[in-house]
């Protein structure tokens, strides 16, 4: 195996952080693919150009998603990476693995691929980096015979992901792992067989701490919430203060709706004004906890900056029960997809479509009433558009 000299990449091994270069070098001892990947990346650093080509027709029979074709633009210089396809494996809910499962994944991957992984990709999949076209079918046969499946890619439902929910977190307002698993099983077709105009991501977070960053990255964010008041243990509030917390600065002044007050003796919350952001509960975890009915808020539209600018998601359904078999949620998703498919252009995410069309047609299509919680930016950017007949109805007192 030819050893590539990599002075530029070696710089990335210095310092206190784990280095991807070190990991590729380890894999390169036994893998020609990993070895030539080092060579190509070093060459890229030297010339300040990228040499990966991407796309095309690669995959396993019957699936249109899960494999991303990748090729080197310099196959003569780096033959080991002539083909360097990425494979996405659907991760378990909450990213729980046994060591036996990880060994199983790696034994197969070392046999067919470069041995390099990315755990995990930003959508959540376990990403296997670098294999050739001939290896795809036998590799998939081995993984699927052991219960593993490919994840989403292209214009499909992307692999749903979730926070670890009630398995380790007291704040989770619904069983995120069950919801993620159940919804993944329900929408296998949409995951493996791309039918949409563009990607669609669903992420399940148990509370507004949003450990999966759903509100910034998912087309549909399912964020746990509750209906009752925040319960306050005043003695524990004092305890937090005694331990050095500046309650006014760190809690009261940071409350986004300014619904809290503290006079040095008693913490008060005007629960009607609270928007369940979780800031106070996360900071004063011994003193505060949610109560009452639990469920989730459904938000739509967040995305990264590709095509048009980045968007944060906004509320469509303020409260929905999230209990197995999640029928209400699944029906809602189907209606959303229907509207999106009917109205969007190629490569248009749902958030962009709502920006273009306004919230009203979406709400009408999915059968949701307009409610104040859907107003994202009052007085700045109204997205409810009135039709002439609405004024007529107001005049005849038929509506509103």
């Amino acid at each position: 195996m030819k050893k590539h000299v990599t002075p530029l990449l070696d710089e990335l091994e210095k310092g206190p952080w784990p280095s991807f270069v070190t990991e590729i070098k380890k894999a390169a001892k036994t893998s020609e693919m990993a070895n030539d990947e080092l060579g190509q990346v070093e060459y890229s650093f030297k010339t300040k150009k990228g040499y990966w080509k991407h796309g095309g027709i690669v995959g396993v029979l019957g699936y249109g998603a899960g494999v991303i074709g990748r090729y080197s633009d310099l196959p003569d210089m780096f033959p080991g990476v002539t083909f360097f396809h990425t494979v996405r494996l659907n991760q378990p809910s909450g990213w729980y693995y046994t060591t036996k499962a990880l060994r199983e994944i790696m034994t197969i991957w070392d046999k067919y691929g470069s041995g390099l992984t990315n755990m995990h990709g930003s959508t959540g999949d376990l990403v296997l980096l670098g294999t050739n076209t001939e290896s795809l079918e036998p590799m998939f046969a081995e993984y699927s015979s052991r219960g593993w499946d490919l994840g989403g890619s292209g214009s499909a439902l992307r692999t749903p992901s979730c926070c670890l929910g009630p398995s380790r977190c007291e704040w989770s307002n619904y069983d995120t792992m069950e919801a993620c698993y159940n919804v993944t099983q329900e929408f296998q077709d949409e995951l493996h067989r791309p039918a949409f105009n563009y990607k669609f991501k669903i992420k399940f977070a148990g509370c507004a701490c949003d450990c999966v960053a759903a509100s910034a990255r998912a087309d549909c964010s399912v964020i746990g919430t509750w209906k009752g008041p925040i319960l306050i243990d005043q003695a524990a509030v004092k305890e937090h203060e005694k331990q050095g917390m500046n309650i006014t600065a760190e809690i009261i002044n940071m409350c986004p709706t300014q619904c809290m007050s503290y006079d040095g003796k008693e913490l008060k919350i005007d629960n009607a004004e609270c928007n369940r952001c979780m800031h106070c509960i996360a900071k004063m975890h011994k003193a505060l906890k949610p109560s009452g009915e639990r469920g989730a808020t459904i938000l739509l539209g967040s995305k990264a900056p590709i095509v048009v600018g980045s968007l944060l998601s906004w509320v469509v359904v303020p409260f929905i029960k999230m209990e197995a078999p999640f029928t209400e949620f699944k029906d809602l998703i189907r209606k959303i997809w229907e509207w999106w498919d009917e109205n969007s252009k190629p490569r248009e995410r749902i958030g962009e479509l709502i920006e273009v069309k306004g919230m009203r047609p979406l709400l009408e299509a999915i059968g949701q009433p307009p409610v104040p919680q859907q107003v994202k930016e009052p007085r700045k950017d109204p997205f409810f558009f009135f039709k002439p007949e609405d004024f007529e109805k107001v005049f005849t007192k038929d509506k509103y």
Binding site: I57, S155, P346
Partner: protein, 81 residues
């Protein structure tokens, strides 16, 4: 309509657009169901059977996925030719 007949209609629809327009699954479901007078769901099932045996295939380019008539190279790669 018999499924085999529907498959032929799907294939003819695909040939009509070959090289002219990238068709996604739902375009085909909608287009063929209107032409053939069957439900989109029937088209979906027939189309997927065609994909499963390599008569049609999924493709990806420019950030979006589509369904196409497979090339010889693809069929050889999958051991179907």
């Amino acid at each position: 309509m018999e499924k085999d007949e529907l498959k032929e209609k799907i294939f003819a629809f695909m040939q009509k657009y070959k090289g002219k327009k990238k068709l996604k699954e739902r375009d085909i479901m909608k287009g063929v169901s209107e032409e053939a007078g069957v439900t989109p769901d029937e088209v979906k099932k027939a189309m997927r059977e065609m994909i499963d045996v390599g008569r049609l295939m999924y493709s990806y380019g420019g950030g979006a996925s589509s369904v196409e008539i497979p090339s010889e190279e693809y069929l050889k790669e999958k051991g179907l030719l």
